[in-house]
Symmetry: C2
DNA sequence: TTTGTTTTCGGAAACGTTTCCGAAAAAATA
DNA sequence: TATTTTTTCGGAAACGTTTCCGAAAACAAA
């Protein structure tokens, strides 16, 4: 553990500590030759500046914190990869933490990240209420932060969003124009605004086509939730003709129990999902779903964060909303 | 940014800085009452010790670093969740970094984690050669570290392993006993020892049953690799009767193009995968696969790491090998 | 050569803690 | 009460850097 320190190099070379520091920080007030000499010697001695000590005096750590609510679905990993692409390019390292769908651990996560002096944060919320005041403090303390996917209007920070209303609208309209009536919308956590937006899109599509708006069922966002809902639906005996799920996991779970119970998809029930997952096209039948540009979401978030970090004056939060695509597959096309 | 510091509280309360420090570190040599008084006041003033400064003098950060080669497949996220369960319990925070299958960024990842003074590391390698000497230095510098899944024998550290040989053996035997001959093994990166072990298991099963050992095809670990291999197989015109893939992603990719080209599974080709993914049972036909105890792998790794951290004397590296299960599903049962 | 500028560097304070050492205060013992 | 022991606390050094300030050295201008 006898790490070589800046003093060791200074002593060895007979120069002052500050000179070594200057050499490493590429300051203007040092002679080229001595800098090269120092750098060479430092490398020989296996010295590199201690980042902890450095952070104590400086402001920057070149670390970015990334907090996601979960990451077993590939959605969040994919946006992280996108963000990491642009961040690494700029010399930043990305520290990831996952909140396990708990706002308490989310809170702890961003705290440890802040404690470790990250230069900025990219976060997607587990809940839109619980940590609000905490985030407000954070924002007013000038910590650069951008939210994505799961955001809250109340917080004045940069955000990258998806037009949930629009694509929910398109997805249900796709069902409607094929003649499906009696469509049910299964959705996740009630408190998230993306949930509300998708519901609004679902209902708007009905209204546009002068249809009685379909039922909305709340549950979680997991495959198991989808299975549970499907089972309860089957017990009703009168099944809907189509289901629009707020999430591929839900759709797949539901599909699973429908198939197990002998229902044909899309013959008996048509299904469309959201936030296209990797398996959408591999499952049987292939699942119609709204594809979000995960990669681009990450890249955009990273870019907004960098903008904020590099802004010296007051920063005006920016919001971007990205576009998606409805990938129509077998699970939702009416058999004639 | 005018964070309240320990001095502020000291001044405000008319006591020395060291007393405040003692109050926060629960030292024996402070009077109960003054400690309570200090803690209360500190809370009022919104003070909490700066972890960076603290790290400079202390050794512990209560942060654990987790480095994985990728995380869009749910395998790694699941083991992280398992590890996080036991680590959070003990008051540690888990910082995750992903290497994007590049050993260079893996290198950078563990470096920044070490720079941030994590108390220990849990890592799964991208390559078993490239960073060896680096890890050796790290280990000899007494950094607690445990490897899992993708490990290298040469490194003397704790490891948690899966018996790839055994389960590969069982998987191919499952194919063999049903009368499939002409089985091909598709596998990933050649340099990983888990690859070798799975090949050995594959071959051993053949030998046990006195069969000519099947062909082994090397590729990557992604769905796309599986698709590519399947296409090249189709061009051969004489297809194998069964495929054992070293990975569910490979299996699913291959299955996809076989189905697209009108082949029946398992009628024309039977398929079994490995490291069961979430989609195995949802895909069509449901995929036979070897299930690894992802959760337990994480828990075990975390436990081994904690053991090492809490050992004061010399630590003797431990290895654990965990058990799996072959989940037989439709994709590999011979149709009669 | 003298004076003025610029370049290059050293000394020391600062960042926010912890910890060692010793002293004052309190308690226990004689 | 006098002495010893224990408890509680303050002062200061240390952790490894960066940065401010000023001085020495080098150079340019007069």
């Amino acid at each position: 553990m006898k790490h070589t320190t800046i003093k060791d190099v200074a002593k060895k070379m007979g120069v002052s500590v500050s000179t070594i520091s200057r050499a490493f920080n590429d300051k203007y007030d040092i002679k080229k030759e001595t800098r090269d000499r120092i750098l060479k010697m430092a490398k020989e001695m296996g010295y590199s500046p201690n980042p902890i000590a450095r952070k104590l005096t400086q402001k920057r750590s070149y670390n970015i914190g990334f907090v996601v609510p979960e990451f077993v679905n590939s959605f969040f990993p994919e946006v992280i990869i996108g963000a990491q692409e642009v961040l690494l390019e700029e010399g930043y390292q990305v520290l990831i933490m996952q909140s396990d769908l708990s706002w308490e651990t989310e809170r702890k996560n961003v705290k440890t990240l802040v404690d470790n002096m990250v230069d900025g944060l990219i976060v997607s919320l587990t809940s839109e209420e619980k940590n609000n005041t905490y985030y407000k403090e954070l924002i007013s303390s000038k910590m650069p932060i951008v939210f994505f996917n799961r955001v809250v209007d109340e917080l004045s920070a940069s955000k990258v969003l998806f037009d949930d209303f629009k694509w929910s609208f398109f997805a249900t309209e796709h069902l409607i124009v094929q003649g499906f009536i009696d469509i049910i919308h299964i959705t996740g956590t009630k408190s998230l605004s993306l949930t509300k937006n998708r519901i609004n899109g679902f209902e708007a599509a009905h209204r546009k086509h002068k249809l009685k708006v379909g039922e909305v069922i709340y549950t979680g966002f997991t495959t198991e939730d989808g299975e549970r809902i499907a089972e309860s639906l089957i017990e009703r005996e009168v099944l809907p003709k189509a289901i629009f799920a707020a999430n591929d996991a839900l759709a797949i779970g539901a599909m699973h129990v429908f198939k197990k119970n002998g229902y044909q998809i899309p013959g008996d029930i048509a299904i469309v999902g959201f936030s296209e997952s990797r398996l959408a096209e591999h499952i049987s039948p292939p699942l119609t779903s709204v594809k979000q540009p995960t990669h681009d979401i990450g890249r955009a978030a990273a870019q907004l964060l960098l903008d904020q970090i590099n802004t010296t004056g007051v920063f005006i939060p920016q919001s971007m909303v990205l576009n998606g695509r409805l990938n129509i597959r077998e699970s939702s096309v009416k058999v004639i």
